[in-house]
């Protein structure tokens, strides 16, 4: 039995309704408890801001395309190298760090749970291998279904239950967490070098539209009673005028779940563009935020971009090719048979580029114009908008109008004509930030039940103590301190153990992988379904028996089992 007592913590725990109380937190064997004995180890938080461990609900850190981002970028690897030291392994990389680099840097910032934004089922084993080498965070994997042939066939047949059965089999086989749709239909079209341009375009050869895929998958998801909603990267990412596609997508969303949103729209900054070309691109954040405010059944994340060098990587293969045609740097693409695709290119977001300045403003606007912080998560779509190490700076921008003004003054002066940001006064408070960086994310992912995102007794003892004293710090003016404070915890506690302290990693760590298994009635068991089995026999290049991820890849798997309503 190990016991730990965090004393004098200035706690914000939104899910428990605690909005800034000084209190003690008792921990026994990795869980929060009511109280501990007198021999418990004590940490004095000294009135510092104490939050549940950070949760990132959309980040690219592990798997085939992330690793290819590293593989193709020795110039990025040399931009951030540390030697082996104590329990820390060597790390390399700035925008796409090595797994240990990601893990340590997140840990130092107080993050203890990360959802990998895109895992191709066929290559799931790879993602899980890298999860094991990301030892300081519990990991979850969004599983890609955007171009899945069996899904599109079910959609064509208007058979929601079959779609649900495909999802159930696949998530369980690949130890995935949730349904991800990346440019639904577009990744299949990209198999022919084409794309879909609106939610009503037909996917070549399959006779379905993105809208039909989205609607079917939303309903299938709820039939399976999965913890998270469908998680979508909308069509037409990064295209001027794409806000209409985003609004059309928002219009599709019914309200089917009283515990959480029915659709999670990721990196919405990239989907909120007005104009018709790169020359007249403008912010449509107000239209998008209005739609989000009117639809409590959706949640979004920002997809903030920050200026500097980074690497973009997404399952959205056709989008990456378009981006490549603009940047002419290097381009990788990796289509995955019967399932999805992916692309990678390095980018440099410049204050001298009007387009980039508009993008920068949109992300912030979305966060500031969305009234309910539970509906908008803080993210950069790491590393697409910026590496996650920029989160503290984004927090500071959201909390300080002055900081935003100072930054705006450095941008292309035309920016103000294309964006509403200069007129927005709102400054988020500590509570908003606590929601947007952990509580809201845990709720949106549906993992509060496994003890994530809060500090009530029974929760996992994942805690971040920041060297910030909300009682005496004015974020509006002292934004530099805010930025520094969120960059480096005094303590990061993972499952009751201090894992990082004042920027130093102190244990090797051992994480869990959270996955979902929807239990279906026997008639929906696709492992014996002739049509489904035929896919493997004839079209996949891997045998069906070699496809599922073996248990050995999840040394500490946490399965969330649900009973499907089929």
């Amino acid at each position: 039995m190990s016991e730990l007592l965090v004393r004098n913590a200035y706690v914000i725990d939104p899910l428990s309704g605690i909005k800034g109380d000084v209190m003690d937190i008792a921990i026994r064997d990795g869980k929060i408890v009511e109280e501990v004995g007198r021999n418990a180890e004590v940490i004095d938080a000294d009135h510092c801001l104490t939050l549940p461990g950070g949760v990132d609900s959309h980040s690219h850190v592990c798997g085939t395309k992330v690793n290819f981002g590293r593989y193709m970028s020795p110039e990025d690897m040399r931009a951030g190298r540390t030697a082996r030291k104590g329990v820390m392994h060597v790390t390399s990389g700035y925008s796409v760090p090595t797994t240990f680099g990601n893990s340590y840097r997140y840990s130092i910032m107080g993050y203890t749970t990360i959802l990998e934004g895109a895992m191709a089922p066929l290559e799931a084993r790879h993602t899980h291998e890298e999860f094991t080498a990301t030892p300081h965070q519990d990991m979850l994997a969004n599983t890609l279904f955007d171009g899945n042939w069996s899904i599109m066939e079910a959609v064509r047949e208007k058979d929601v239950k079959r779609a649900a059965a495909v999802v159930a089999w696949t998530l369980s086989a690949v130890k995935g967490f949730a349904i991800k749709l990346t440019n639904p239909g577009g990744t299949e079209a990209w198999g022919w070098g084409e794309d879909v341009h609106s939610i009503l375009d037909q996917v070549p050869h399959f006779g379905v539209t993105p809208a039909e895929i989205i609607e079917t998958m939303i309903r299938a998801n709820e039939l399976l009673n999965l913890p998270h909603s469908v998680h979508i990267h909308c069509n037409a990412l990064g295209v001027p005028g794409n806000y209409r596609t985003t609004l059309d997508t928002l219009d599709l969303v019914p309200d089917l779940n009283d515990k959480r949103q029915t659709l999670y729209l990721t990196h919405l900054q990239f989907h909120s563009y007005g104009g018709s070309t790169w020359k007249d691109i403008s912010s449509k954040s107000e239209d998008i935020a209005r739609a989000v405010n009117n639809k409590p059944q959706v949640a979004i994340d920002m997809g903030q971009i920050m200026f500097g060098r980074t690497t973009t990587m997404t399952a959205d293969g056709p989008m990456e090719f378009k981006l490549y045609m603009l940047h002419h740097n290097k381009w990788s693409n990796h289509d995955v048979e019967l399932e999805t695709g992916s692309g990678i290119i390095p980018v440099y977001y410049s204050r001298k580029s009007l387009v980039n300045c508009v993008m920068w403003a949109i992300g912030l606007e979305l966060a500031l114009l969305t009234k309910d912080p539970w509906q908008c998560m803080l993210s950069t779509d790491n590393p697409n908008g910026a590496p996650f190490v920029k989160y503290p700076e984004i927090i500071a921008l959201l909390m300080s109008r002055r900081f935003r003004e100072n930054e705006l003054a450095l941008l292309d002066p035309r920016t103000a004509h294309y964006v509403p940001l200069p007129a927005i006064d709102r400054e988020l408070d500590w509570y908003d930030i606590a929601v947007m960086t952990r509580a809201g994310q845990a709720k949106a992912l549906g993992i509060t039940g496994v003890g994530k995102g809060h500090l009530a007794p029974g929760a996992e003892a994942d805690i971040a103590i920041y060297p910030l004293k909300p009682d005496s710090l004015d974020p509006s003016t002292e934004y530099q301190q805010v930025m520094a404070g969120f960059g480096k915890t005094r303590y990061t506690i993972k499952r009751g153990r201090v894992v990082a302290r004042d920027g130093e990693v102190v244990v090797e760590g051992a994480n869990s992988t959270i996955w979902t298994k929807a239990i279906t009635p026997p008639e929906f068991d696709l492992s014996v379904d002739p049509e489904f089995v035929k896919k493997f026999e004839q079209y996949y290049t891997v045998r069906m028996s070699n496809y599922p991820v073996q248990d050995v890849y999840l040394p500490r798997g946490v399965c969330i089992a649900t009973e499907a309503s089929l």
Binding site: M72, S73, P74, E75, D76, R78, N329
Partner: protein, 255 residues
Amino acid sequence: MRVILRTKPRKKPFIPIEAEAIIPQNFLRKNDITVYEGNKERKLDEIFYITTEGPAVSPDQVEIVLSGETGRIKRVGEYMNAGRIVIEGDIGMHCGNFMSAGEIIIKGNADAWLGREMRGGIIRCEGNASHYCAAGYRGEKRGMRGGIVQVMGNAGDFTAEYLSGGEVTIHGDCGDLPGVEMRGGTLIIGGNCRRPCGNMTGGICMIFGKADAMLPTFRNTGSEEKEYGGHHHRMTMYRGDIANRGKGTLLVKIN
């Protein structure tokens, strides 16, 4: 100030030494300068006999002289921004990496990556330079960006790969693919070479010897006169690389 570093005999003379600490500014104050021999950190005096003559108040008054078995010493002059380094014999890889100002004189031969990603200053190599002279780093889009590299002898393959600025002169021959991926700056080759300027997108390359195996994707746009070595030479002017929308200029002497 003049610092003379003469190598001591080593038990394992083939193990490379990494000595990025050997730059003029580091000798201003008597620091504990260390270098690496393989995976072992060594004090400077474990590797060299050190003699210091005269004073200096700024790095530009510091001259470092390296002598002895220096052919395996890497990264000398890395990030150098003032002063002078004279190498009496050969020098190991990566001499003058990222150098921004000052002067390096090599009296012998230089190993690969001489002046890699150089920004400014002068490197003069009196012997031969190995491969990737005045080139870049793996995956990086720009190689040397400024400064002057002069090689009196020959240079190896991939000379001035990704050259983006500055001037590189090889008075002898070059190997295969000099100026490959070149995008700016000037490359002058006094002797012969093979397959110059593949995939170039900018900059000027002049070849005063013979260019073997010229690539088929350069467009002959006439001729021009250029001076080299005190003589005027008639040159064929090519534009390319057409394979790559290139707008580079390649001038090859008409024999």
